[in-house]
Each structure stands twice: as C-alpha cells, then as structure tokens.
Symmetry: C2
Subunit: 224 residues, 2 copies
C-alpha cells in the first residue's frame, strides 16, 4: 500500500515536470512562429495547447484521487496541494504561448513584429523558454537555491519588458497603432509567462520551507 502511494506521488510529480517542459517548448515554438511568420508552426502550437489542458485535468483528477484514497499529511499533503497549484499555473502559461501563436497566425503572412523589435522579442522568447525549463528542474529537484536563481532571472524579463515599452514612446515609434498594440500585448504575454515560472519556484520554496515569502534574499538565507 505504502509503495503504491509513493509511486502515485512520484507519478504526479513526473506529470507536472512533463507538463512544464511541454509548455516551455510550446513557448519556444510560438516565438519561432511569431518571428518567422510560420503559419504551420503557429497552428501546431495552438492545437497542442489542448494536450496541455488534458495533462492539467489528468493531474488534477489524480491528485484529488490520491488525497481521497491515501489521505496524506504533513510534507506529502503539501506536495499534492502544491502540485495542484503548479498545474493550474502551467496550464495558464500554456494559454500565453497559445496567445503568441494566435497573434502570429492573425498577422500571417506578415510578421507581427517590426524588424527593430525582433531581437528584443527573440530574447524574451528565449528567456521565457529557459525560465520555464528551469521551473521544471526546480519541480523535479526541489532545489531552493535554483528556485531563488529563477526569481532573479525573472528580473531580466522585467528589464526586457521595460526596454520594449521604451521603444513604444511616441517620439521613436514609426510602426503604427496596430503594431504598437501587438508589441505591447506580446511583451505582456512573455512577462506573465515568466511570472508564472517564478511563481512555480515560489511554490516549491513554500513546499520545502513551509513559508510564504516574496523576498528572494530571505529565501536564500533559509536555504543555507
């Protein structure tokens, strides 16, 4: 009985890591679709989001079944509750990757981004993919120091977000209204995506330490 229990817990954790890696990859592909105005790839990302939704529902059902059958307490209870929360965050993150693919599709055959923004948006896409991959690693390892690093990398995303909004000032923007709105929303999707990755890290910290804490430096002190 106990063995089956720990297998179920491990399966939930593995499912979460798989789902998180799937969403990291979806964001990478959505970014390519956006930068290269690749309609087939955009459609693939949009279609694949349903499989993320299914993974999310499966994980929820399994977590609730485990709570009912095994009635975990202490750390194991926190693992299951955290898995439920993280699963919801990752599902929302998948929606954000889909939104970027939808924008690529809506503007096809044009590229939704002006040439001089493509490098920055490319950086945001690469960072988003990297942060979500790191979130998957943090879920798998429950390593608090890595979780804190993830929070810091989220600051990099905020800097890129600000850089995009600098370019959106009246005096320097020559690409029209529609493009400004596309760029602003795209930047926001990446920023939210990174925020979800950081939030996953915070939830893992809460799992390990039992403390809600939004101060990375305090978390690092806890980890030492």
């Amino acid at each position: 009985m106990r063995e089956a229990y720990h297998e179920e817990l491990a399966a939930i954790s593995d499912g979460l890591v798989e789902m998180t890696r799937t969403v990291a990859s979806a964001m990478e592909r959505a970014t390519s679709a956006l930068l290269e105005a690749d309609l087939a790839l955009a459609n693939a990302v949009i279609g694949d989001d349903r499989s993320v939704d299914r993974l999310h529902h499966d994980l929820e059902d399994r977590a609730i079944a485990l709570l009912a059958r095994q009635q975990p307490v202490a750390t194991e209870l926190r693992i299951v509750v955290t898995a439920l929360r993280i699963s919801a965050e990752i599902e929302r993150s998948g929606d954000l990757a889909r939104h970027i693919a939808e924008l690529a599709r809506m503007r096809y055959p044009s590229c939704a981004l002006p040439t001089d923004l493509q490098a920055t948006i490319g950086d945001m896409g690469a960072l988003a993919q990297q942060l979500m991959s790191q979130a998957a690693d943090v879920i798998a390892s429950r390593n608090i120091e890595n979780a804190v690093c993830l929070e810091r990398a989220d600051d990099q995303m905020n800097q890129l977000h600000r850089a995009v909004f600098e370019q959106l000032r009246e005096s320097t923007w020559h690409h029209g209204i529609e493009s400004a709105v596309d760029v602003a929303l795209t930047a926001r999707y990446y920023e939210r995506f990174a925020d979800h990755a950081a939030s996953v890290a915070r939830r893992v910290v809460y799992l390990v330490t039992g403390r809600h804490n939004d101060q990375p430096s305090d978390l690092l002190a806890l980890a030492r």
Copy 2:
C-alpha cells in the same frame, strides 16, 4: 469533532466569498480611479491589494490545515481543493484591479483614457465588478444555473473587448501610441478579470457535478 469540522469548512467558504467580494469592489474602485484620474483612490486600491494577498495566504493555510487534521473525502475533499484553486484565481484578479489603479496613478493628473473610450471602459469596469460579485454568489450558493449565466455574461465582456480593439484601428485612432497601448492593456485586464470570474464559476460546476466541462449548454443540461 464533526461539528468543528463543518464549522471550519464553512469558514473557508465564507473567507472565499469575502475575498471575492473584496476583489469585485477593488475593481469597481480601480475603474473609478481610472475614469476620474483620482490619485487618492488609485493609491487606496493599490494598498488594499496586500490585504487580498493576506486573505489568500490565510485561506491556503486554513485549507491545508483542514486537509491534514480532518482528511476529508468525497464532496468535502472537493470543496477544499476547489477553495484552494478559487483562492488563487481571486488573488490574481486582485492583481488585475491593482494594475488598473497603477495605470491611473502613472498617468495622473491626466486621465489615461481618451474621452471617446471612457464609456466603453466604464461598461467593462461595471461588468467586471458585476461578474465578480456574481462569482461570489455562485461560491456561496453553488447554484449551477447561475454559474452558467456567469459564463454567458463573460461573452459580453468579450464583445466589449472586441469593440475596444475596433477603435484601435489605424484609420480611426487619433490619440497616439501611448494611449493606444494603455487602452489595449486596460481592455486586456478587464477581459482577464472576467475570465477569472467565469473560471471560478466553472470550478464550482466541477465541484457540484464532478465534471470538467467547458460547454455551457452541456452544463445547463447537467443542472436540469
């Protein structure tokens, strides 16, 4: 023991309703701050978001404590799990109200919105507040028909969202880039807020029926 248990469950549900009403009210006040360029009100909304975060953490801690102490099964387990999920959605909704207040503060003493957009944004704000209040009622009553109505009202928000983006077309927009970006992001905040309210309704439906279902018509069939 059983009596204490049901009191705890009721307290969690009451806390959730309170938190949801607080966030509905925050969105109403944020909308007033935006439309009237009211700095004091904007600052109040921004400050009050911390109390929503505290309510969220308290609810989480109480739900986890209840899971550990009482080890609920079946419906009661689902109530607690649903409360955890809804609490996270409402916390995010509170952030969106704060974002709108932050925009009002950033553009003060100007109004962030062009005059000809104020009526539509006012409608979005009123609908957002109404949907979140309805979500609070649905949490309290677990009434599936009301939950389905909430989903339909979410369609109204999508219509308003599209109407705003119609006005953001090149040929008709005369308010500059910064204003276009402000309006696009604001519309998006309201749309996300309404989406959270609808998602709360879906979670209550899942609680009552045990089915994940995104088709309102199917839900209504279930309710009958």
